[in-house]
Symmetry: C2
């Protein structure tokens, strides 16, 4: 099943447009899970069980697995195995290299880890993005990131329009909607609105909800497509390391449920206007 079909089915089944990032941070994992790689596996398995009915996708960011060194691959494999088969997985690695090398990266995420989609960095050019958009694959091309430094390059004026818009325009021209969407930081709703106008039928992954300060309702309203779809808000730390009165699983479940409901409410409100 294609990524978009699987995403759509999971979204309907769980009445959710929420993606949760699965990023193991040694210093934030509760001591009750133990220590080291086994703690990360144990922690993420329990987070997945606690949140699976609230999400339509999971997004492990490869950086947090690589930081564990060699055991990182084992943590990632165990985490992927714990994700219910009907929930699509976006491997967030933002890889980008020349074509021969990009093909190796794409093979690693799609054939090695059986990801449903992967994030890709655009700077190297479209021939470096293409291997991630091949048959049966799906690329979320980084357009506008959620960090303050995003302005340094992404906002530069290129022929009267910002560079991040050019990235999206070029990809829309080259890659079909069923193989390519975009990463648009939830912290920048104005930029998301601008991009929706040049990519009306594309999926936008909106990371940066919660810990990074992105306003969920604002981001959804800005990025929603004409049919009330096309948005995938994503939260990581604010769900899996959620503070609260209870044990970490209950806190994560509560945070995920609350974000899911807020996202649905924001979507309904935007569509009824």
């Amino acid at each position: 099943m294609s990524f978009l079909a699987k995403l759509s089915a999971a979204s309907r089944a769980h009445d959710s447009i929420l993606c949760v990032g699965l990023d193991p941070e040694p210093d934030a994992i509760p001591e009750s899970c133990g220590r080291g790689p086994q703690a990360a596996i144990h922690f993420l398995e329990r987070i997945i069980r606690a949140t699976a009915d609230q999400v339509c996708a999971y997004k492990p960011n490869l950086a947090f697995y690589e930081r564990y060194g060699a055991p990182g691959a084992e943590i990632l494999s165990a985490t992927l195995a714990a994700i219910p088969k009907d929930i699509p997985v976006i491997l967030d690695g933002k890889r980008g290299d020349v074509p021969n090398t990009a093909a190796a990266y794409a093979s690693a995420v799609f054939e090695g880890y059986h990801a449903d989609a992967a994030t890709v960095a655009p700077y190297v050019g479209l021939d470096g993005v293409a291997p991630f958009c091949a048959d049966g694959r799906y690329a979320l091309v980084v357009a506008r990131t959620s960090n303050p430094g995003a302005r340094d390059l992404q906002d530069l004026d290129v022929g009267g329009r910002p560079l991040y818009e050019r990235v999206v325009t070029l990809c829309v021209e080259r890659f079909p909607a069923e193989r390519c969407g975009f990463v648009v930081g939830a912290t920048y709703p104005d930029e998301a609105r601008r991009l929706r106008s040049v990519a009306p039928d594309r999926l936008f992954l909106l990371p940066g909800v919660g810990a990074q300060g992105g306003d969920l309702a604002l981001a959804i309203r800005a990025a929603l497509d004409a049919h009330g779809g096309g948005v995938l808000p994503s939260a990581s730390r604010s769900v899996i390391y959620a503070a609260g009165p209870d044990d970490f699983e209950r806190n994560a479940a509560t945070a995920a449920r609350s974000l899911r409901e807020s996202a649905n409410a924001a979507r309904s409100a935007a569509m009824s206007r």
Copy 2:
């Protein structure tokens, strides 16, 4: 020892400015090495023994290790262990992400794998590059890549100058020369010349020599700094999978020696003009 000091010492010791890429490609590894991850380890160990006295740096590209899945980390660790301690290692991953995540990537390459330098993608902004330029680290920021698609974004006009030049200018302003150099494809000497004028004191890694068609002498002449230094031409496939009449180790040694001598000759010729 800092990356630049270690590089300079290795360069003097081996009378070489050549970097060799260590990229295990299952289909290209000789059958005599066996199959699977152990073959890659065996192959790369022998390549390193055959070429170590001809090079001043090695550059494993992470994509080719990740394609092996979980055993990729073991291949990389074994390969790094086989590199003589006096030869610096550039881990070529072209990572790029928001600051919190970039810090995890930088920790993985510098603390996990003890790399001397790492390549970094600039699109996310300078706050995503900064963790790779911290104390004791060295970032080679991707400026102009060696692929045909490099033109798609990197050459876009930004205020009368190409984007790749802006990348370099911004990094030169923000990060000191002992912590930050640039990746400039050997296939584009005109671009390298332009960048030398805005970054007179920076190291340029020049990948794409050989298999990708980069002309070694042309690239060196274009990129050399005012003191006859600052260039690090890099060849991968054309050395480690070199065709020839002998066994693969001898072919690799011959190819590396030939490139080393050509690089030295090109450098001498350029300096004597």
